[in-house]
């Protein structure tokens, strides 16, 4: 009877180790491969986008010299847009593009004239008439 117990114990240890090792190794291996592939295509796309548009990142109003930043001219803002909205838009752009690149807001214009249909109305119209 004791031999039977030992045998069962050994079987349990065996399957535990098999599952533990196989499981961890496979999960890590698959995810490491994913990491490599994502990094590879990330750099490929980054290089492609650098080749396509080398100009716009360089066309800042004033390129900042290393120790001292030259002042960036204020954005040209259409009448009727309050300063708070300009600040919010500038903050959102800064957040999206990161603090590394020196992007600046050049001008802000309304997309739709306020006297025509309200934006929500236009959105509802498009939603309902969109083709299948």
């Amino acid at each position: 009877m004791q031999k039977m117990g030992m045998f069962q114990w050994m079987k349990k240890i065996q399957i535990s180790l098999v599952v533990l090792l196989t499981g961890l190794v496979v999960v890590f291996a698959v995810l490491v491969m994913l990491i490599l592939i994502i990094k590879i295509y990330g750099t490929i796309i980054h290089k492609m986008s650098q080749k396509n548009k080398p100009e716009p990142p360089k066309s800042n109003p004033t390129p900042p010299p290393a120790p001292k930043k030259a002042p960036v001219p204020a954005p040209v803002v259409e009448d009727g847009i309050s300063e708070e909205i300009v600040a919010a838009i500038a903050a959102a752009i800064d957040c999206m593009y990161g603090s590394g690149t020196a992007q600046a807001v050049k001008s802000i214009k309304r997309a739709v004239k306020p006297v025509s249909r309200p934006a929500w109305g236009v959105a509802g119209l498009l939603e309902n008439t969109r083709p299948f």
């Binding site: 349990k12 399957i15 535990s16 098999v18 599952v19 533990l20 196989t22 499981g23 961890l24 496979v26 999960v27 890590f28 291996a29 698959v30 995810l31 490491v32 491969m33 994913l34 990491i35 592939i37 994502i38 990094k39 295509y41 990330g42 796309i45 986008s49 999206m96 593009y97 990161g98 603090s99 969109r130």
Partner: protein, 413 residues
């Protein structure tokens, strides 16, 4: 006078067919348990989207067990049947067996039996993953692919729990199903359990969803125990912006790679990525909206109710259920510890750039675990916003737990 005796007879037969006569004490205990779960879902808001249907399904099946009844086909001799039913000819087909004519008496299954087929056949969990993929933004993960390692490390809980379950006397298939609770992913747990150990579906589902709701309570002590104050104060640098093309390529590449390497994980990972590509492509917003909203809600209702309806007294009120509850807790704790320890490793390897607290978010309870990382980090340093950084390991954990489920299925299934 005949009227009164007939009345007496009909009242007696009404009582005989009522639930009071046919239910045992286990049913009533389960009714009480389901009421407690309903209270937890509504008042304490423990994952109510799933716990409430589960609890109510449990209530229904213990009051009326036939709601989950199998459809039944039996054969009765024509003469006997007519004699028993006052010579009224029924609509059943007549089937000759060995020359003698029988009625093929078909009894339909219960309501929840038919809805349960979606769980039994593994249909609902992948559809929920479709909705989850349509709701998930993989941007933080693409920007910092090393988060995948944290998502992998947190799946340690699954395999350690498997070992614990084996030594507590469960069969290897049952142990695999119990282990997947550590993946902290409801649909994955239900999918794997329905394939490996369908008899344990009720207890495992209740354990999995209850612990997912307890993540904000379970994780912080472990996180604080395993990290130093200096490590917790690390502020990580901002993630790079991720382009649209990368976000569209991600689901395609993940699907191809994971399905080729581990075909058993394809139903889950494939549907997750299908939902994600609906979202990222931008050209199928109708489908993306439906997947995130209507489809998720419908499937959640069916899944929750029918999973709860598997929790009958005989299955739930068993010593095994207590073991499952304890093992589930171990699974979550070890998973959190595994993620945080790997986070510490990455902290050392990167020279202090990675905050180990985001490692605990590798446990794939999206977005709760990421929010816990954010909160604990903010307790140390109020200006530290770890949420986006923690979302990387969080969503990597979803993929990681689906891969781990595929591994368990291929070894044990």
């Amino acid at each position: 006078m005949n009227v009164f005796s007939e009345l007496g007879n009909s009242i007696v037969s009404l009582f005989q067919t009522s639930g009071f006569a046919s239910n045992g004490w286990q049913n009533y205990v389960m009714v009480c348990i389901s009421c407690v779960l309903i209270y937890l879902a509504i008042k304490k808001q423990f994952e109510p989207l799933l716990l409430l249907p589960i609890a109510f399904g449990m209530l229904l099946v213990n009051l009326f067990p036939a709601i989950m009844a199998h459809p039944n086909v039996s054969y009765q001799l024509v003469d006997e049947y007519l004699a028993a039913h006052n010579n009224i000819v029924p609509t059943y087909d007549i089937v000759p067996i060995n020359g003698v004519e029988y009625y093929q008496v078909v009894e339909n299954g219960g309501l929840l039996y038919y809805l349960y087929q979606g769980v039994k056949l593994g249909i609902y969990p992948p559809l929920i993953f479709l909705g989850i993929g349509a709701m998930t933004d993989f941007g933080p993960l693409i920007a910092n692919p090393k988060s995948f390692l944290l998502g992998a490390a947190a799946q340690l809980g699954i395999f350690i729990t498997f070992i614990g379950a084996i030594f507590l006397g469960f069969t290897d298939k049952q142990a695999g199903a119990i282990g997947i609770i550590g993946g902290a992913d409801g649909p994955t747990a239900i999918w794997l359990t329905s394939k490996l150990a369908p008899e344990l579906l009720g207890p495992i589902a209740v354990a999995a969803y209850s612990y997912m709701a307890l993540v904000p309570i379970i994780q912080p002590p472990i996180m604080k125990l395993l990290t130093t104050k200096k490590e917790r104060m690390v502020v990580m640098e901002q993630l790079r912006p991720v382009s649209k093309l990368e976000k569209i390529l991600f689901p395609i590449i993940v699907t191809i790679l994971v399905s080729l390497l581990l075909p058993d994980a394809t139903p889950l990972v494939g549907m997750l990525m299908l939902g994600n590509i609906f979202r990222e492509s931008g050209v199928v917003s109708r489908i993306s909206n439906t997947a995130q909203n209507e489809l998720m809600n419908i499937i959640t209702i069916f899944l929750g109710t029918t999973v709860g309806a598997t929790a009958t007294g005989s299955v739930f009120l068993d010593a095994g259920t207590i073991k499952i509850i304890i093992l589930g807790l171990i699974a979550f704790c070890v998973g959190t510890a595994g993620g945080v320890l790997f986070g510490k490793l990455m902290y050392i390897a990167s020279g202090g750039k990675v905050n180990p607290l985001i490692g605990s978010a590798g446990v794939s309870a999206v977005p709760m675990a990421a929010r816990v990382s954010q909160k604990v980090g903010q307790q140390e340093n109020p200006g530290n916003f770890l949420l986006m950084h923690a979302m990387g390991p969080n969503v990597a954990g979803v993929i990681g737990s689906a891969v781990a489920a595929g591994v368990l299925l291929s070894i044990l299934g």
